[in-house]
Amino acid sequence: MRKIQVAKIRDVVKRLCLEANFILRKDVLAALKKAEKKETNKRARAIFGQIIENARVAKKERIAICQDTGMAVIFIELGQEVILAGGDLNGAVSEGVRRAYSEGCLRKSVVADPIERHNTKTNTPPIVFIKIVPGNRVRITVSPKGFGSENKSRIKMFKPTADLAEIKAFIIDTVKAAGPDACPPLILGIGIGGTFERCAHLAKEALLRPIDKHNVKRHIRKFEEDIAKEINALGIGPMGLGGRTTVLGVNVEEFPTHIAGLPVAVNVSCHATRSASAVI
């Protein structure tokens, strides 16, 4: 067994919240640069230039890439040979978030009650998912998720006999409905299968995968490529003002499901899709 102090986890959560909000993911930045190069629309090209410059300034000056520094979504893969010592894990994670958002001048966007809506002024609580895995390590991933794009996300329970064309139409319709509001070019996290809640979770997890890495299953990989191609042909472009790139990446994660159903979730994410990971 390996003992890990929860204070260590708190400090890593804090560091990852800051890193994710100040430093744009490498894969996302690379995709933006590629999109800028192939863009023929003058305004779209200029917008790509500004997005790339924004990432440079944010990293250099440690100022948030986007003012919507999100609700902090935290994934913890906890090795089953780890003993957590020194207090409550969830409390430590929350404290890491609180410190990062206070000391890092990030926005406090969380309200305590969804109806009464008083800001907690700490950006806590975060959303925390804990998965027990083999081994004696702890892997932590922080994904601050902005709500401009979160608001455009959708889930649909298809019939089990639905074909890929119907699923594709639903995904494309979701992108069209999001239009300029979700800060395109987008990154789509798509969950297929599982149950209602697992499907949404898969969609969120899909956003964590680098967008230059495809699903390992061949038919899913092809589906990812087909969706991206069709969406880019829509010409929505950066900020919906026209252009060749409407999605920077389409990531699909799938899971076994029930004979009676076929859930599909689309977690829409913006061109400033953020996350950072570390292993303890």
Binding site: Q50, E53, V57, A64, C66, Q67, L241, A272
Partner: protein, 176 residues
């Protein structure tokens, strides 16, 4: 040469703006997003008045991050405008001349903009670090308990925007 717009806006100065045109905003603008708009509406229902004089004013749909020590403001890009749609016709009626946000607006907002000869500007979303360079000062002036959702008075210099809906009601996002 990119056109400069100075606040408070005189309707005369914006009447020739065209959807799609790039302009630079200069002067005082006020942030207000969901919670502040809801308060405006509730206060108006209760008292028949708005807590702020909006004649010629520009509202920026934004909730900035806090400034670093000594800084004017943190990251400060636009939020989604359509969430403010239902509150907008009242504010236009009370003299609001310009709005800055991101994304499209409802048809009834477009019509209200046309009716009042106002303008809706689009700022690029997700470049809040860069836009912070265009803000010289910020100060919470209303609903301070709302934190980032308070109304902030910003002094901006050459704040870059694109005309989304012009005073004639033409919309950059209209289906061609």
């Amino acid at each position: 040469m990119i056109k400069r717009i100075f606040t408070p806006i005189k309707k005369e100065d914006i009447k020739d703006l065209k959807a799609g045109e790039e302009v630079l905003i200069n002067g005082t603008i006020f942030t207000a997003r969901d919670a502040a708009h809801k308060k405006f509406s509730e206060l108006f229902k209760k008292t028949g008045k708005l807590p702020i004089d909006l004649r010629g004013a520009v509202i920026y749909y934004a909730g900035p991050t806090p400034p670093r020590r000594g800084g004017a403001i943190g990251s400060c890009g636009p939020t989604t405008s359509s969430r403010m749609d239902s509150f907008t016709p009242l504010l236009l009626k009370k003299g609001l001349a310009g709005m800055i946000g991101k994304g499209g607006r409802s048809e009834y907002v477009r019509n209200a903009i046309k009716k009042h000869g106002a303008v809706y500007f689009i700022a690029i979303g997700g470049i809040g670090a860069l836009l912070s360079k265009k803000v010289n000062s910020s100060k919470a002036v209303l609903f301070k308990d709302l934190g980032t959702e308070a109304v902030y008075k910003l002094e901006v210099k050459d704040f870059p925007v694109i005309v989304g809906i012009d005073p004639k009601g033409r919309d950059v996002y209209a289906k061609k």
